[in-house]
Symmetry: C2
Subunit: 270 residues, 2 copies
Protein backbone atom coordinates (compact mmCIF):
# COMPACT_ATOMS: atom_id res chain seq x y z
CA UNK A 1 0.00 0.00 0.00
CA UNK A 2 1.31 3.37 -0.97
CA UNK A 3 1.29 6.44 1.25
CA UNK A 4 -1.88 7.89 -0.33
CA UNK A 5 -3.76 4.66 0.39
CA UNK A 6 -2.54 4.52 3.97
CA UNK A 7 -3.60 8.11 4.53
CA UNK A 8 -7.11 7.41 3.27
CA UNK A 9 -7.44 4.36 5.55
CA UNK A 10 -5.99 6.06 8.64
CA UNK A 11 -8.07 9.21 8.16
CA UNK A 12 -11.23 7.13 7.83
CA UNK A 13 -10.46 5.15 10.98
CA UNK A 14 -9.64 8.22 13.09
CA UNK A 15 -12.50 10.45 11.92
CA UNK A 16 -15.12 7.74 12.28
CA UNK A 17 -14.43 7.53 16.00
CA UNK A 18 -13.40 10.93 17.38
CA UNK A 19 -11.51 11.09 20.70
CA UNK A 20 -10.73 7.38 20.64
CA UNK A 21 -7.05 6.59 21.02
CA UNK A 22 -5.75 4.24 18.33
CA UNK A 23 -2.41 2.48 18.63
CA UNK A 24 0.25 3.72 16.22
CA UNK A 25 1.94 0.33 16.37
CA UNK A 26 -1.25 -1.42 15.23
CA UNK A 27 -1.54 0.91 12.25
CA UNK A 28 2.10 0.19 11.38
CA UNK A 29 1.51 -3.58 11.61
CA UNK A 30 -1.69 -3.37 9.56
CA UNK A 31 0.13 -1.71 6.66
CA UNK A 32 3.44 -3.50 7.20
CA UNK A 33 5.46 -0.30 7.45
CA UNK A 34 7.94 1.07 9.99
CA UNK A 35 6.64 3.31 12.76
CA UNK A 36 8.73 6.16 11.37
CA UNK A 37 6.91 5.89 8.03
CA UNK A 38 3.60 5.87 9.82
CA UNK A 39 4.59 8.97 11.78
CA UNK A 40 5.15 10.75 8.50
CA UNK A 41 1.69 9.68 7.33
CA UNK A 42 0.18 11.05 10.53
CA UNK A 43 2.11 14.31 10.14
CA UNK A 44 0.48 14.83 6.74
CA UNK A 45 -3.00 14.21 8.14
CA UNK A 46 -2.27 16.49 11.10
CA UNK A 47 -1.02 19.24 8.83
CA UNK A 48 -4.10 18.95 6.58
CA UNK A 49 -6.45 19.24 9.55
CA UNK A 50 -4.56 22.31 10.77
CA UNK A 51 -4.46 24.04 7.40
CA UNK A 52 -8.13 23.44 6.63
CA UNK A 53 -9.26 23.92 10.27
CA UNK A 54 -10.80 20.44 10.26
CA UNK A 55 -10.18 19.57 13.89
CA UNK A 56 -6.97 18.26 15.38
CA UNK A 57 -4.86 15.10 15.20
CA UNK A 58 -3.29 14.51 18.60
CA UNK A 59 -0.38 12.14 19.11
CA UNK A 60 0.06 10.61 22.53
CA UNK A 61 3.75 9.96 23.15
CA UNK A 62 5.24 7.16 25.22
CA UNK A 63 5.84 3.44 24.92
CA UNK A 64 2.22 2.70 23.99
CA UNK A 65 2.05 5.49 21.42
CA UNK A 66 -1.42 6.52 20.40
CA UNK A 67 -3.16 8.88 18.07
CA UNK A 68 -6.63 10.35 18.01
CA UNK A 69 -8.78 12.81 16.16
CA UNK A 70 -10.41 15.67 18.09
CA UNK A 71 -13.36 17.27 16.27
CA UNK A 72 -12.51 20.77 17.51
CA UNK A 73 -14.31 23.66 15.87
CA UNK A 74 -13.07 27.22 15.58
CA UNK A 75 -15.26 29.97 17.01
CA UNK A 76 -16.25 30.99 13.47
CA UNK A 77 -17.26 27.44 12.59
CA UNK A 78 -19.23 27.07 15.83
CA UNK A 79 -21.01 30.36 15.19
CA UNK A 80 -21.91 29.39 11.65
CA UNK A 81 -23.46 26.07 12.78
CA UNK A 82 -25.36 27.71 15.63
CA UNK A 83 -26.54 30.55 13.38
CA UNK A 84 -27.85 27.98 10.89
CA UNK A 85 -30.13 26.56 13.61
CA UNK A 86 -31.20 30.07 14.68
CA UNK A 87 -32.11 30.80 11.07
CA UNK A 88 -34.35 27.74 10.98
CA UNK A 89 -35.93 28.69 14.32
CA UNK A 90 -36.82 32.18 13.04
CA UNK A 91 -39.30 30.75 10.52
CA UNK A 92 -42.68 32.16 11.72
CA UNK A 93 -44.41 28.97 10.58
CA UNK A 94 -42.81 27.32 13.61
CA UNK A 95 -44.97 29.35 16.01
CA UNK A 96 -47.58 27.16 17.68
CA UNK A 97 -50.63 27.98 19.80
CA UNK A 98 -49.57 29.18 23.25
CA UNK A 99 -46.33 30.70 21.99
CA UNK A 100 -44.55 27.35 21.67
CA UNK A 101 -42.06 26.75 18.88
CA UNK A 102 -42.04 23.61 16.78
CA UNK A 103 -38.48 22.30 16.92
CA UNK A 104 -38.81 18.50 16.87
CA UNK A 105 -37.28 18.33 13.39
CA UNK A 106 -34.23 20.32 14.51
CA UNK A 107 -33.58 18.49 17.79
CA UNK A 108 -33.50 15.12 16.03
CA UNK A 109 -31.49 16.10 12.95
CA UNK A 110 -28.10 14.37 12.82
CA UNK A 111 -27.02 16.91 10.22
CA UNK A 112 -27.57 19.87 12.56
CA UNK A 113 -26.60 18.06 15.76
CA UNK A 114 -23.28 16.53 14.71
CA UNK A 115 -21.53 19.90 14.77
CA UNK A 116 -23.33 20.69 18.04
CA UNK A 117 -21.71 17.56 19.48
CA UNK A 118 -18.35 18.92 18.34
CA UNK A 119 -19.02 22.34 19.91
CA UNK A 120 -19.77 20.77 23.30
CA UNK A 121 -16.79 18.42 22.88
CA UNK A 122 -14.60 21.47 22.24
CA UNK A 123 -16.03 23.25 25.29
CA UNK A 124 -16.01 20.38 27.77
CA UNK A 125 -13.44 17.89 26.46
CA UNK A 126 -10.61 19.07 28.72
CA UNK A 127 -12.75 18.60 31.85
CA UNK A 128 -12.37 14.85 31.31
CA UNK A 129 -15.99 13.71 31.59
CA UNK A 130 -16.50 9.94 31.76
CA UNK A 131 -20.24 9.85 30.95
CA UNK A 132 -22.71 12.03 29.10
CA UNK A 133 -26.05 12.16 30.94
CA UNK A 134 -29.39 13.42 29.63
CA UNK A 135 -33.07 13.00 30.41
CA UNK A 136 -35.62 11.56 27.97
CA UNK A 137 -36.84 12.33 25.32
CA UNK A 138 -35.82 15.30 23.22
CA UNK A 139 -32.38 15.58 24.80
CA UNK A 140 -31.28 12.13 23.62
CA UNK A 141 -30.19 12.90 20.03
CA UNK A 142 -28.07 15.92 21.01
CA UNK A 143 -26.59 14.07 24.01
CA UNK A 144 -25.75 11.09 21.79
CA UNK A 145 -23.86 13.36 19.40
CA UNK A 146 -21.89 14.79 22.31
CA UNK A 147 -21.15 11.27 23.58
CA UNK A 148 -20.01 10.29 20.09
CA UNK A 149 -17.77 13.35 19.70
CA UNK A 150 -16.14 12.59 23.06
CA UNK A 151 -16.17 8.76 22.69
CA UNK A 152 -18.11 8.40 25.95
CA UNK A 153 -21.04 6.23 27.04
CA UNK A 154 -24.46 7.89 27.13
CA UNK A 155 -26.76 7.53 30.14
CA UNK A 156 -30.46 8.34 29.72
CA UNK A 157 -32.42 9.30 32.83
CA UNK A 158 -36.08 8.32 32.57
CA UNK A 159 -39.23 10.20 33.49
CA UNK A 160 -40.81 6.89 34.40
CA UNK A 161 -38.84 3.80 35.27
CA UNK A 162 -39.22 0.51 33.42
CA UNK A 163 -38.87 -3.12 34.51
CA UNK A 164 -35.87 -3.51 32.19
CA UNK A 165 -33.85 -1.11 34.31
CA UNK A 166 -33.67 -3.19 37.46
CA UNK A 167 -33.51 -1.35 40.80
CA UNK A 168 -33.77 2.40 40.17
CA UNK A 169 -33.23 5.55 42.17
CA UNK A 170 -36.29 7.77 41.78
CA UNK A 171 -36.36 11.45 42.68
CA UNK A 172 -38.93 14.22 42.63
CA UNK A 173 -37.90 17.61 41.39
CA UNK A 174 -39.57 20.97 40.92
CA UNK A 175 -39.92 22.03 37.31
CA UNK A 176 -38.97 25.71 37.42
CA UNK A 177 -41.24 26.88 34.66
CA UNK A 178 -44.47 24.99 35.20
CA UNK A 179 -43.91 24.77 38.98
CA UNK A 180 -44.98 21.15 38.93
CA UNK A 181 -43.49 18.34 40.90
CA UNK A 182 -42.01 15.95 38.35
CA UNK A 183 -40.16 12.66 38.64
CA UNK A 184 -36.94 11.29 37.23
CA UNK A 185 -35.35 7.93 37.79
CA UNK A 186 -32.18 6.12 36.88
CA UNK A 187 -31.06 2.53 37.17
CA UNK A 188 -28.60 1.92 40.01
CA UNK A 189 -26.39 0.15 37.49
CA UNK A 190 -26.25 3.02 35.03
CA UNK A 191 -23.48 5.02 36.68
CA UNK A 192 -20.54 3.86 38.79
CA UNK A 193 -20.01 5.84 41.99
CA UNK A 194 -17.52 8.66 41.67
CA UNK A 195 -17.91 9.16 37.91
CA UNK A 196 -17.34 12.50 36.23
CA UNK A 197 -20.45 13.37 34.24
CA UNK A 198 -21.38 15.93 31.60
CA UNK A 199 -25.09 16.91 31.60
CA UNK A 200 -26.64 17.72 28.21
CA UNK A 201 -30.20 18.81 27.39
CA UNK A 202 -31.92 20.20 24.34
CA UNK A 203 -33.98 22.95 25.94
CA UNK A 204 -34.06 24.84 29.21
CA UNK A 205 -36.42 27.43 30.57
CA UNK A 206 -35.87 27.98 34.30
CA UNK A 207 -33.41 25.11 34.57
CA UNK A 208 -35.46 22.89 36.88
CA UNK A 209 -34.66 19.74 34.93
CA UNK A 210 -30.91 20.38 34.90
CA UNK A 211 -30.98 21.22 38.59
CA UNK A 212 -32.91 18.01 39.24
CA UNK A 213 -30.37 16.09 37.17
CA UNK A 214 -27.54 17.62 39.22
CA UNK A 215 -29.25 16.57 42.43
CA UNK A 216 -29.70 13.07 41.06
CA UNK A 217 -26.00 12.93 40.20
CA UNK A 218 -25.20 13.82 43.81
CA UNK A 219 -27.28 10.81 44.92
CA UNK A 220 -25.10 8.68 42.63
CA UNK A 221 -22.03 10.32 44.20
CA UNK A 222 -20.98 11.56 40.77
CA UNK A 223 -19.30 14.85 39.95
CA UNK A 224 -20.94 17.14 37.40
CA UNK A 225 -18.06 18.58 35.33
CA UNK A 226 -20.27 20.58 32.98
CA UNK A 227 -23.82 21.38 31.83
CA UNK A 228 -24.61 22.03 28.20
CA UNK A 229 -27.92 23.23 26.74
CA UNK A 230 -28.76 23.58 23.05
CA UNK A 231 -31.50 26.22 23.40
CA UNK A 232 -32.19 28.42 26.43
CA UNK A 233 -35.47 30.31 26.73
CA UNK A 234 -35.38 33.97 27.81
CA UNK A 235 -38.18 33.40 30.29
CA UNK A 236 -38.58 33.16 33.22
CA UNK A 237 -35.94 35.75 34.11
CA UNK A 238 -34.88 33.92 37.21
CA UNK A 239 -32.92 30.75 36.50
CA UNK A 240 -32.40 27.87 38.90
CA UNK A 241 -28.88 27.15 37.57
CA UNK A 242 -26.13 29.52 36.51
CA UNK A 243 -23.07 27.49 35.63
CA UNK A 244 -24.37 26.07 32.35
CA UNK A 245 -23.33 26.69 28.77
CA UNK A 246 -26.12 27.45 26.28
CA UNK A 247 -25.61 27.69 22.55
CA UNK A 248 -28.80 29.43 21.47
CA UNK A 249 -30.81 32.07 23.26
CA UNK A 250 -34.54 32.10 22.48
CA UNK A 251 -35.46 35.55 23.72
CA UNK A 252 -39.09 35.93 22.76
CA UNK A 253 -41.91 34.49 20.72
CA UNK A 254 -44.10 37.37 19.58
CA UNK A 255 -47.37 35.80 18.55
CA UNK A 256 -48.99 39.07 17.47
CA UNK A 257 -46.11 40.05 15.19
CA UNK A 258 -45.45 36.39 14.28
CA UNK A 259 -41.81 36.84 15.13
CA UNK A 260 -39.30 34.52 16.80
CA UNK A 261 -36.45 36.44 18.45
CA UNK A 262 -33.52 34.04 18.69
CA UNK A 263 -29.75 34.42 18.53
CA UNK A 264 -26.48 32.60 19.25
CA UNK A 265 -25.37 32.87 22.88
CA UNK A 266 -23.11 35.80 23.75
CA UNK A 267 -20.00 33.67 24.39
CA UNK A 268 -20.09 32.42 20.79
CA UNK A 269 -20.50 35.80 19.13
CA UNK A 270 -18.03 37.57 21.46
Amino acid sequence: MRRAHRIAAITKTLVERPHHVFSVGEFADLFGVARSTLSEDLAIIRQTCETLEMGKIETIPGAVGGVRYLPLLTKEQALSHVEAICQRLRDPQRILAGGFIYMEDLTSSHELLRPIGSIFATAFGDRDPEYVVTVETAGIPVALQVAQALDLPLVVVRRQSRPTEGPVLTMNFLSGSARNVETMSLSRRALPQGSRVLLIDDFMKAGGTLRGLSDLMREFECTVVGKGVLIEGGWPDEKLIHDHLSLIYLQEVDIKEQKVVVQPADWITA
Copy 2:
Protein backbone atom coordinates in the same frame (compact mmCIF):
# COMPACT_ATOMS: atom_id res chain seq x y z
CA MET B 1 -1.72 21.03 -1.42
CA ARG B 2 -0.22 17.74 -2.43
CA ARG B 3 -2.18 14.61 -3.26
CA ALA B 4 -1.69 13.07 0.19
CA HIS B 5 -3.16 16.18 1.84
CA ARG B 6 -6.12 16.27 -0.51
CA ILE B 7 -6.82 12.60 0.17
CA ALA B 8 -6.86 13.20 3.93
CA ALA B 9 -9.25 16.14 3.55
CA ILE B 10 -11.59 14.42 1.09
CA THR B 11 -11.69 11.19 3.12
CA LYS B 12 -12.54 13.13 6.27
CA THR B 13 -15.33 15.05 4.55
CA LEU B 14 -16.89 11.95 2.95
CA VAL B 15 -16.66 9.64 5.96
CA GLU B 16 -18.00 12.21 8.39
CA ARG B 17 -21.26 12.32 6.49
CA PRO B 18 -22.06 8.93 4.96
CA HIS B 19 -24.53 8.72 2.04
CA HIS B 20 -24.39 12.49 1.46
CA VAL B 21 -23.53 13.42 -2.12
CA PHE B 22 -20.69 15.93 -2.36
CA SER B 23 -19.95 17.81 -5.56
CA VAL B 24 -16.72 16.75 -7.28
CA GLY B 25 -16.46 20.20 -8.81
CA GLU B 26 -16.53 21.87 -5.37
CA PHE B 27 -13.72 19.61 -4.16
CA ALA B 28 -11.70 20.52 -7.26
CA ASP B 29 -12.30 24.26 -6.68
CA LEU B 30 -11.44 23.99 -2.99
CA PHE B 31 -8.03 22.50 -3.77
CA GLY B 32 -7.50 24.42 -7.01
CA VAL B 33 -6.90 21.29 -9.09
CA ALA B 34 -8.39 19.97 -12.31
CA ARG B 35 -11.33 17.56 -12.12
CA SER B 36 -9.20 14.87 -13.70
CA THR B 37 -6.67 15.18 -10.85
CA LEU B 38 -9.46 14.99 -8.33
CA SER B 39 -10.85 11.89 -10.03
CA GLU B 40 -7.47 10.23 -9.50
CA ASP B 41 -7.60 11.19 -5.80
CA LEU B 42 -11.05 9.64 -5.52
CA ALA B 43 -9.88 6.50 -7.31
CA ILE B 44 -7.20 6.02 -4.63
CA ILE B 45 -9.74 6.44 -1.81
CA ARG B 46 -12.17 4.10 -3.57
CA GLN B 47 -9.48 1.48 -4.08
CA THR B 48 -8.40 1.71 -0.41
CA CYS B 49 -11.98 1.21 0.79
CA GLU B 50 -12.35 -1.81 -1.50
CA THR B 51 -9.06 -3.43 -0.53
CA LEU B 52 -9.60 -2.99 3.22
CA GLU B 53 -13.38 -3.61 3.05
CA MET B 54 -14.04 -0.22 4.61
CA GLY B 55 -17.28 0.57 2.82
CA LYS B 56 -17.67 1.96 -0.67
CA ILE B 57 -16.94 5.21 -2.48
CA GLU B 58 -19.62 5.77 -5.10
CA THR B 59 -19.22 8.25 -7.95
CA ILE B 60 -22.38 9.67 -9.46
CA PRO B 61 -21.72 10.46 -13.12
CA GLY B 62 -23.27 13.25 -15.16
CA ALA B 63 -22.98 17.00 -15.49
CA VAL B 64 -23.39 17.59 -11.76
CA GLY B 65 -20.89 14.91 -10.78
CA GLY B 66 -21.08 13.77 -7.21
CA VAL B 67 -19.35 11.41 -4.85
CA ARG B 68 -20.42 9.79 -1.62
CA TYR B 69 -19.28 7.30 0.96
CA LEU B 70 -21.51 4.30 1.74
CA PRO B 71 -20.71 2.62 5.09
CA LEU B 72 -21.43 -0.87 3.75
CA LEU B 73 -20.34 -3.78 5.91
CA THR B 74 -19.48 -7.27 4.72
CA LYS B 75 -21.43 -10.16 6.20
CA GLU B 76 -18.39 -11.11 8.31
CA GLN B 77 -18.07 -7.57 9.68
CA ALA B 78 -21.81 -7.41 10.45
CA LEU B 79 -21.66 -10.76 12.21
CA SER B 80 -18.67 -9.71 14.30
CA HIS B 81 -20.41 -6.52 15.49
CA VAL B 82 -23.65 -8.34 16.24
CA GLU B 83 -21.82 -11.15 18.03
CA ALA B 84 -20.04 -8.55 20.20
CA ILE B 85 -23.43 -7.33 21.45
CA CYS B 86 -24.63 -10.93 21.98
CA GLN B 87 -21.51 -11.56 24.03
CA ARG B 88 -22.35 -8.62 26.27
CA LEU B 89 -25.98 -9.77 26.60
CA ARG B 90 -24.89 -13.24 27.76
CA ASP B 91 -23.45 -11.85 30.99
CA PRO B 92 -25.66 -13.44 33.72
CA GLN B 93 -25.33 -10.29 35.82
CA ARG B 94 -27.72 -8.68 33.34
CA ILE B 95 -30.61 -10.90 34.49
CA LEU B 96 -33.17 -8.89 36.45
CA ALA B 97 -36.13 -9.93 38.53
CA GLY B 98 -38.97 -11.19 36.35
CA GLY B 99 -36.61 -12.50 33.66
CA PHE B 100 -35.89 -9.08 32.23
CA ILE B 101 -32.44 -8.27 30.85
CA TYR B 102 -30.61 -5.05 31.64
CA MET B 103 -29.59 -3.58 28.30
CA GLU B 104 -29.83 0.20 28.76
CA ASP B 105 -26.06 0.56 28.50
CA LEU B 106 -25.98 -1.33 25.20
CA THR B 107 -28.92 0.42 23.53
CA SER B 108 -27.40 3.85 24.18
CA SER B 109 -23.78 3.06 23.31
CA HIS B 110 -22.60 4.96 20.21
CA GLU B 111 -19.67 2.55 19.98
CA LEU B 112 -21.91 -0.51 19.62
CA LEU B 113 -24.67 1.24 17.68
CA ARG B 114 -22.64 2.98 14.97
CA PRO B 115 -21.93 -0.34 13.19
CA ILE B 116 -25.58 -1.30 13.75
CA GLY B 117 -26.52 1.85 11.84
CA SER B 118 -24.24 0.69 9.03
CA ILE B 119 -25.79 -2.81 9.01
CA PHE B 120 -29.30 -1.40 8.61
CA ALA B 121 -28.01 1.10 6.03
CA THR B 122 -26.52 -1.82 4.08
CA ALA B 123 -29.78 -3.78 4.33
CA PHE B 124 -32.25 -0.98 3.57
CA GLY B 125 -30.25 1.68 1.68
CA ASP B 126 -31.37 0.57 -1.78
CA ARG B 127 -35.05 0.81 -0.84
CA ASP B 128 -34.59 4.60 -0.89
CA PRO B 129 -36.14 5.54 2.45
CA GLU B 130 -36.65 9.29 3.01
CA TYR B 131 -37.17 9.22 6.79
CA VAL B 132 -36.16 6.99 9.68
CA VAL B 133 -39.02 6.63 12.17
CA THR B 134 -38.85 5.28 15.73
CA VAL B 135 -40.86 5.49 18.93
CA GLU B 136 -39.52 6.92 22.19
CA THR B 137 -37.41 6.18 24.24
CA ALA B 138 -34.93 3.33 23.90
CA GLY B 139 -35.23 3.15 20.11
CA ILE B 140 -33.92 6.68 19.59
CA PRO B 141 -30.14 6.07 19.77
CA VAL B 142 -30.19 3.14 17.34
CA ALA B 143 -32.59 4.94 14.99
CA LEU B 144 -30.37 8.04 15.06
CA GLN B 145 -27.38 5.95 14.01
CA VAL B 146 -29.38 4.51 11.12
CA ALA B 147 -30.48 8.02 10.13
CA GLN B 148 -26.86 9.16 10.27
CA ALA B 149 -25.60 6.22 8.21
CA LEU B 150 -28.25 6.95 5.55
CA ASP B 151 -28.08 10.77 5.84
CA LEU B 152 -31.82 10.93 6.55
CA PRO B 153 -33.93 12.93 9.00
CA LEU B 154 -35.11 11.10 12.12
CA VAL B 155 -38.73 11.26 13.28
CA VAL B 156 -39.55 10.29 16.86
CA VAL B 157 -43.10 9.13 17.62
CA ARG B 158 -44.16 9.98 21.17
CA ARG B 159 -45.97 7.91 23.75
CA GLN B 160 -47.55 11.12 25.03
CA SER B 161 -47.85 14.28 22.98
CA ARG B 162 -46.37 17.59 24.09
CA PRO B 163 -47.45 21.20 23.49
CA THR B 164 -44.27 21.81 21.49
CA GLU B 165 -45.46 19.43 18.79
CA GLY B 166 -48.48 21.41 17.61
CA PRO B 167 -51.43 19.44 16.24
CA VAL B 168 -50.77 15.73 16.56
CA LEU B 169 -52.31 12.54 15.29
CA THR B 170 -52.89 10.20 18.22
CA MET B 171 -53.58 6.50 17.88
CA ASN B 172 -54.27 3.61 20.21
CA PHE B 173 -52.59 0.31 19.58
CA LEU B 174 -52.55 -3.09 21.18
CA SER B 175 -49.25 -4.06 22.73
CA GLY B 176 -48.86 -7.68 21.67
CA SER B 177 -46.95 -8.88 24.72
CA ALA B 178 -48.67 -7.14 27.63
CA ARG B 179 -52.01 -7.01 25.80
CA ASN B 180 -52.52 -3.45 26.96
CA VAL B 181 -54.01 -0.63 24.95
CA GLU B 182 -51.23 1.90 24.52
CA THR B 183 -51.03 5.25 22.78
CA MET B 184 -48.67 6.81 20.29
CA SER B 185 -48.81 10.22 18.70
CA LEU B 186 -46.97 12.20 16.09
CA SER B 187 -47.03 15.82 15.07
CA ARG B 188 -48.91 16.45 11.82
CA ARG B 189 -45.85 18.41 10.67
CA ALA B 190 -43.36 15.62 11.27
CA LEU B 191 -43.86 13.69 8.05
CA PRO B 192 -44.91 14.92 4.60
CA GLN B 193 -47.65 12.86 2.95
CA GLY B 194 -46.36 10.16 0.62
CA SER B 195 -42.95 9.79 2.26
CA ARG B 196 -41.01 6.53 2.18
CA VAL B 197 -40.15 5.59 5.75
CA LEU B 198 -37.88 3.08 7.46
CA LEU B 199 -39.09 1.92 10.90
CA ILE B 200 -36.40 1.16 13.49
CA ASP B 201 -36.77 -0.07 17.07
CA ASP B 202 -34.43 -1.44 19.68
CA PHE B 203 -36.49 -4.34 20.97
CA MET B 204 -39.50 -6.32 19.88
CA LYS B 205 -41.46 -9.07 21.54
CA ALA B 206 -44.76 -9.71 19.74
CA GLY B 207 -44.30 -6.73 17.44
CA GLY B 208 -47.28 -4.70 18.65
CA THR B 209 -45.34 -1.45 18.66
CA LEU B 210 -43.99 -1.92 15.13
CA ARG B 211 -47.45 -2.88 13.92
CA GLY B 212 -48.85 0.22 15.62
CA LEU B 213 -46.15 2.32 13.98
CA SER B 214 -47.03 0.83 10.58
CA ASP B 215 -50.69 1.70 11.12
CA LEU B 216 -49.70 5.23 12.14
CA MET B 217 -47.65 5.57 8.96
CA ARG B 218 -50.73 4.61 6.93
CA GLU B 219 -52.63 7.47 8.63
CA PHE B 220 -49.84 9.78 7.43
CA GLU B 221 -50.19 8.22 3.94
CA CYS B 222 -46.56 7.16 4.09
CA THR B 223 -45.05 3.97 2.68
CA VAL B 224 -43.11 1.70 5.01
CA VAL B 225 -40.13 0.45 2.97
CA GLY B 226 -38.55 -1.57 5.80
CA LYS B 227 -38.68 -2.49 9.48
CA GLY B 228 -35.49 -3.04 11.45
CA VAL B 229 -35.17 -4.36 15.01
CA LEU B 230 -31.99 -4.62 17.03
CA ILE B 231 -33.12 -7.40 19.41
CA GLU B 232 -36.08 -9.73 18.96
CA GLY B 233 -37.41 -11.77 21.86
CA GLY B 234 -38.19 -15.44 21.30
CA TRP B 235 -41.51 -15.10 23.09
CA PRO B 236 -44.40 -14.96 22.46
CA ASP B 237 -44.21 -17.44 19.59
CA GLU B 238 -46.86 -15.69 17.62
CA LYS B 239 -45.67 -12.41 16.13
CA LEU B 240 -47.89 -9.60 14.91
CA ILE B 241 -45.51 -8.68 12.09
CA HIS B 242 -43.44 -10.86 9.80
CA ASP B 243 -41.69 -8.67 7.27
CA HIS B 244 -39.13 -7.20 9.66
CA LEU B 245 -35.36 -7.66 9.89
CA SER B 246 -33.94 -8.47 13.34
CA LEU B 247 -30.24 -8.57 14.13
CA ILE B 248 -30.24 -10.42 17.43
CA TYR B 249 -32.47 -13.20 18.62
CA LEU B 250 -33.01 -13.38 22.39
CA GLN B 251 -34.30 -16.90 22.72
CA GLU B 252 -34.61 -17.42 26.44
CA VAL B 253 -33.72 -16.04 29.84
CA ASP B 254 -33.26 -18.99 32.19
CA ILE B 255 -33.49 -17.52 35.68
CA LYS B 256 -32.85 -20.84 37.42
CA GLU B 257 -29.68 -21.60 35.49
CA GLN B 258 -28.76 -17.88 35.30
CA LYS B 259 -28.32 -18.18 31.57
CA VAL B 260 -29.17 -15.83 28.72
CA VAL B 261 -29.64 -17.66 25.42
CA VAL B 262 -29.00 -15.15 22.68
CA GLN B 263 -27.54 -15.34 19.16
CA PRO B 264 -27.20 -13.40 15.92
CA ALA B 265 -30.22 -13.74 13.63
CA ASP B 266 -30.13 -16.57 11.09
CA TRP B 267 -29.80 -14.33 8.03
CA ILE B 268 -26.50 -12.95 9.37
CA THR B 269 -24.92 -16.29 10.20
CA ALA B 270 -26.20 -17.99 7.02
